[in-house]
């Protein structure tokens, strides 16, 4: 992750455009494919917007760029699961399907089949739909709500601020998974659809975001540029949306990515314990719940891949978060 300082790189990029050192060109294009195409004449200073700087710092975090690509591929493969896979999610139990049941990984079934002859890779792709849907929607819902509450509490203070702080204090005291299990039991008896799970998880995850946003707003409120805005007669709404929120976007985005990962793990845990997504809907967690019994049998391969899918996704999300953190940090040396 240690790469030459920023000055070295920009000169390398400029030099690369002129075509001096082949090795440096390679480095430059590897680090920043977007910039490499816009050749900047040597010796000319270009004003860079904040977003250009952020994008540049992000692209310099190679693992984060790889993570973004991996997530994009995972997303596409889940969306196009039907088109990608030659098999049905739940094939009819014909003799030919059952003849291929309990087969380990092979060329025809890359990740093997279960006891009903269902292709595991197909199931993992379809399950990705629900797991990614849950992860992304929980992040979206909890970020929107958490940002709203956090912004209002941080900006106006008063009773809302007190209430928010006391609620988050209380929630720290009661184990989250325990509350989720009780709620999950209720959801389970009503069918266990994914929007319900999303709601249950979002109720839990909005609070850390609200706390973070509140903290940033609290400190921004005292800054000179906010005072200046107020002095020129800007309304509260304008100050919040035009001046403060754009300066909070970094922490918000970093936290939102972390929530995606946490939500995917939590959903899989709930589903594994039988309190989350219920069959016949398929998620990575309930795939693992269904094949828990295959541990120690020749069909143990059934537990490897759904777990690897979770690991790969969450790892990518976390590296993406790491990259965003660096990108939004003006002091970052990456």
């Amino acid at each position: 992750m240690v790469i030459p300082g920023r000055d070295d790189l920009s000169s390398a990029r400029a030099a690369g455009a002129a075509g001096t050192s082949a090795a440096l060109t390679e480095l430059a294009t590897e680090q920043a494919p977007a910039e490499a195409t816009q050749a900047v004449p040597v010796g000319e200073t270009v004003a860079r917007s904040q977003w250009t700087l952020i994008r540049r710092r992000f692209l310099r975090h190679r693992l984060a760029v790889v993570a973004l690509a991996v997530l994009f591929l995972l997303y596409l493969s889940a969306v196009f699961a039907k088109e990608l896979s030659p098999f049905d999610l739940n094939p009819k139990l014909t003799a030919s399907v059952l003849a291929e049941a309990r087969h380990g990984p092979s060329f025809k079934h890359l990740l093997g089949t279960d006891e009903l002859g269902r292709d595991q890779l197909t199931r993992i792709l379809y399950a990705g739909r629900i797991s990614l849907f849950v992860g992304l929607s929980v992040a979206l819902v909890s970020t929107l709500f958490g940002t709203l509450v956090g912004a209002l509490a941080g900006y106006f203070g008063g009773w809302l601020d007190n209430l928010l702080m006391r609620i988050t204090d209380l929630v720290l005291v009661i184990p989250a998974l325990a509350i989720l299990l009780i709620a999950g039991q209720k959801v389970k008896t009503s069918g266990g659809s994914s929007p319900e799970i999303v709601l249950v998880l979002a109720v839990l995850f909005w609070m850390p975001i609200a706390r973070v946003v509140r903290g940033v707003f609290y400190s921004l409120k005292e800054k000179e540029f906010i005072e200046a805005a107020r002095a020129t007669g800007a309304s509260n709404r304008r100050i919040i949306f035009r001046h403060m929120l754009p300066n909070t976007i970094g922490p918000i985005m970093v936290n939102a990515t972390l929530v995606v990962g946490l939500a995917i793990i939590t959903e899989s845990t709930l589903s594994f314990l039988g309190f989350g997504i219920q069959p016949p809907a398929v998620s990575w967690g309930n795939m693992l719940a269904q094949s828990e019994g295959s541990v120690g049998t020749p069909m143990a391969y059934l537990i490897y891949f759904p777990g690897l899918a979770i690991l790969l996704t969450v790892l990518a999300v976390n590296y993406l978060g790491d990259g965003l953190r660096d990108a939004f940090d003006p002091q970052s040396t990456h």
Binding site: M1, V2, R166, D169, L170, L172, V173, I174, P175, L177, A178, I179, L181, I182, A183, Q185, K186, G261, I265, S268, T269, F272, L273, F275, G285, L288, E292, V295, G296, A300, I303, Y304, P306, G307, I310, L311, V314, L315, V317, N318, Y319
Partner: protein, 322 residues
């Protein structure tokens, strides 16, 4: 110092009380103490009688005060399912969980500190990057999946390869029925402790590394080096002792959370502790177990948070006055 501790204790009582109100209403809203009876009998008079006997016909606030009074006096009633005393069961479950926590903390604490110190001393070395990568993996992995993989590769795989009669490590319960000894206990303990430690090590080692790096850039460290103190002595005597303060408080907070946080580990390894107790209670709608369980766990979380505050004050005199 004493007033500092006393003030903290007094402040935590209202938090616990409000938590008890929330817990009570939430649990009563989501679980039905009469569910099993309803499924078993069609006779409405039995239901009414039972409802009256349990005090469920009174308004909820009255029920709450009754429950709180009984709870404080440790009169927790009996389980709807096993008819055994909840307080007695909770006690034995609690000790089983304490065993897991104790060994887990010991293993994770030592490993995390060692990794953290090494990574900070040799920042940006190959091994530092390896530890960073591993901790990312550890934090990105669902613990229950790691448990399944551990059972597959540490219990079944060696057993099958070496054609053993019994596996080296067991994956069910605390000890075998036949031979209960220290070795047998260790063979049962190993895997659950490993599973609970992975995430702790991943988190704590990152924390210790950051705290170590922070301390090592302090002026007094440079002074010590300039005065000719050896690198090793500076690292372990001067830096480590101060760098441990933040980690120790984080550890205290995490230990509190572990009392209710081993739900997955205990369920998978059939370890008869608090977590498994809770999952069984929820599946059976056993309100008499769920309510005191949540309160006991909340008490421990608050208690250890308090302990962390006090510890921080004791280790770092600058905090005490604040």
């Amino acid at each position: 110092m004493l007033t500092f501790v006393a003030r903290r204790i007094v402040f935590s009582i209202p938090v616990l009380l409000i938590a008890s109100v929330l817990v009570f209403f939430f649990v009563r809203e989501t679980t039905d103490p009469l569910a099993r009876l309803r499924a078993g009998t069609k006779d409405p008079t039995t239901l009414v009688r039972e409802k009256h006997r349990l005090g469920l016909d009174k308004p909820l606030p009255t029920q709450y005060t009754h429950w709180l009074k009984d709870f404080v006096q440790l009169k927790w009633g009996t389980s709807f399912v096993t008819n055994r005393s909840v307080a007695a069961d909770m006690k034995s479950r609690f000790w089983n969980t304490v065993q897991l926590i104790f060994w887990g903390i010991l293993l994770s604490g030592i490993t995390a500190i060692a990794i953290g110190v090494y990574s900070a001393a040799r920042q940006y070395s190959a091994l530092d990057y390896t530890f960073t990568g591993l901790s990312f993996v550890g934090l990105s992995m669902p613990p229950f999946w790691f448990a399944l993989m551990a059972i597959q590769f540490l219990v079944f795989a060696p057993k099958n390869w070496l054609h053993l009669q019994n596996p080296i490590f067991y994956s069910v319960g605390i000890h075998s029925a036949a031979n209960a000894g220290a070795v047998d206990y260790a063979r049962h303990l190993a895997l659950p402790v490993l599973v609970l430690s992975v995430q702790l090590i991943a988190g704590w080692s990152r924390y210790q590394r950051a705290s170590m790096l922070d301390v090592m850039s302090a002026d007094y460290i440079r002074t010590a080096r300039a005065k000719g103190v050896s690198r090793r002595a500076v690292l372990f005597k001067h830096a480590l002792r101060n760098a441990l303060i933040p980690l120790v408080t984080v550890m205290a907070i995490d230990i509190g959370a572990l009392f209710g946080g081993l739900i997955i580990t205990e369920t998978i390894f059939a370890w008869p502790g608090m977590g498994q107790f809770f999952v069984t209670a929820i599946t059976n709608g056993d309100t008499n177990v769920i309510l005191p369980w949540l309160m006991v766990v909340a008490t421990f979380i608050i208690g250890f948070n308090l302990f962390a505050d006090v510890l921080y004050g004791a280790l770092d005199p600058r905090i005490r006055m604040a």
